[in-house]
């Protein structure tokens, strides 16, 4: 076989494998979106779920998912940012840094049900936070942190060292160099990282069943007082998210239209994540363009 023949065969093999992957992807997405799309209607998106009769929607679940996401990010982003700054700017290359990195990675591969139970026993019971969005957000922080730390650290690393030197050479403190020079440059990358990690938060179910709970009390969207128990903004209320709803409808749902609710909810979930992804890309590009003056 001449090198050129083997080259052709190898290229074709790669193309074949890629083709198979693309087919799998298309099948998956197509299956989820096509089987769910017919069930998505304005009514589906804007009415509360029903526990036994047909015709329930996912309004509260969708809102809960988004609200939980925001709370999770509020808790995990600063922590992740600070830690990533530590790892990329301050940490020395020694065993202790290695230990910290390993510890963070171990967090990400813990089974979610274990984290859920941990959150349940510690936050829900021990700290009297009850089944609440806040408990759920803290539990999700466990998954989110490693992803965020890794992606933020990557973005910080991608900023050329010459920028740090430029800052130092002007007599700026490391901290101001990081805040004022490195972070803005790394921002598009960080933003993309956040939004991609949001996908995982959005799809998590097992950890939430024991922390944020799996029932969605009726919400009052006109009550803006976050301390009132019926207010949609109250972080201390239990909340069922979209992914948990899909799980519940599939496992214990007694509504006659459980199958279509599950399909519709899955499709909504995928579409929201799709919007996140394209949003992340668009915003990232926009910021990059602005920063480099369109070059």
């Amino acid at each position: 076989m001449t090198p050129h023949q083997s080259d052709r065969i190898a290229t074709q093999l790669i193309n074949l494998l890629v083709g198979i992957v693309v087919l799998i992807l298309l099948f998956l997405l197509g299956d989820i979106v096509l089987s769910g799309f017919p069930h998505i209607s304005w009514h589906f998106l804007t009415s509360p779920s029903s526990s036994f009769s047909a015709g329930g929607g996912v309004r509260d679940q969708l809102f809960n998912s988004l609200y939980l996401l925001v709370l999770t990010l509020i808790i995990s982003f600063p922590l992740a940012l600070g830690s990533a700054i530590y790892l990329s700017e301050y940490a020395g290359d020694n065993w202790f840094t290695g230990l910290i990195r390993t510890a963070i990675e171990v967090l990400s591969s813990l089974p979610s049900v274990v984290v859920g139970l941990f959150g349940y026993l510690l936050f829900v019971i021990e700290f009297h936070m009850g089944f609440s969005i806040l408990s759920g957000a803290i539990a999700l922080t466990f998954f989110n942190l490693p992803l965020l730390v890794r992606s933020i650290e990557g973005s910080l690393h991608a900023v050329p060292n010459s920028q740090r030197e430029a800052g130092s050479a002007l007599g700026l403190s490391n901290w101001r160099t990081i805040r004022g020079i490195i972070l803005p440059v790394a921002l598009p990358g960080i933003l993309t990282g956040i939004i991609l990690s949001a996908g995982r938060v959005f799809g998590e179910a097992a950890a939430l069943i024991y922390t944020a709970g799996q029932s969605a009390p009726l919400l009052d969207y006109s009550n803006w007082n976050p301390t009132s128990s019926s207010s949609f903004l109250n972080p201390m209320r239990p909340a069922e998210t979209l992914a948990v709803h899909i799980w519940k409808v599939n496992t214990e749902g007694v509504t006659p239209d459980a199958v279509s609710i599950s399909a519709g909810a899955s499709a909504v979930l995928i579409i929201v994540i799709l919007i996140f992804n394209f949003g992340a890309r668009a915003i990232g590009n926009q910021m990059y363009k602005k920063m480099t003056g369109g070059k």
């Binding site: 030197e165 430029a166 800052g167 050479a169 002007l170 007599g171 700026l172 803005p184 480099t292 003056g293």
Partner: protein, 266 residues
Amino acid sequence: MQAYDLSQTHIVTPAEEIALSTNQLQVYYGNSKHASMSDASLSFPRFQITALIGASGSGKSTYLRSLNRLNDRIARIKGEIIYRHTNINDSKVNVYEVRKHIGMVFQKPNPFAKSISENITFALKAQGITNRQELKQRVETSLKEAALWDEVKDDLNKSALALSGGQQQRLCIARAIAMKPDILLLDEPASALDPISTTKLEVTLKELAKNYTIIIVTHNMQQASRISTYTAFFHLGHVLEYDRTERIFQTPMIQATHDYVTGNFG
């Protein structure tokens, strides 16, 4: 490579007023026991340009970067750096203050991903200068001193990354002199530039030498002879010869220097 006797040196102390000097400066990278720069003792005259020349890996950049303690994080530095009768190579010394007085411009232009004027004002604001009028004034003067003003005065809010390489490098110089330093360290500032930009830069440097003490690392011997008053020749982590530029290039005392400036090196 021909082995030269590293113990034979010829180092003068300039008669002019001294702005900065080092005494037995040694640099060790990482945990290495081998000194990348050993026992460098040089004095730099005030308001003059001093050139550091030598082959790649001779330690001249290492030496230069140690002068404002930019190597602190990656290397251990022994010996003394005397600035204003103070040894600034001391952990008690505030490095941020040191760097305000001893500015630096790097080999590759490294403007911030900000607008042209922000590139200059960023560090000033960090120092607590908030008066808009003063900031504007400083931007203008420093850009003029760096001979960039005429080219960018209408685009001050444009991104600095949109400038050409030569313009970016002059912006970096402007950024450094806006801090009103005493001393300006330049690490091969022209190596990434085309001949026209290089010429412009040299003119700028000569002009700047009226108000600043300049120490420049260069590969380009013509450049060194064109702009500098004093020249130091580095070889394998040692300073072998330091004297007035014309003497280095015309009547060097050390064989290695002779071979290097005549192009018979290696």
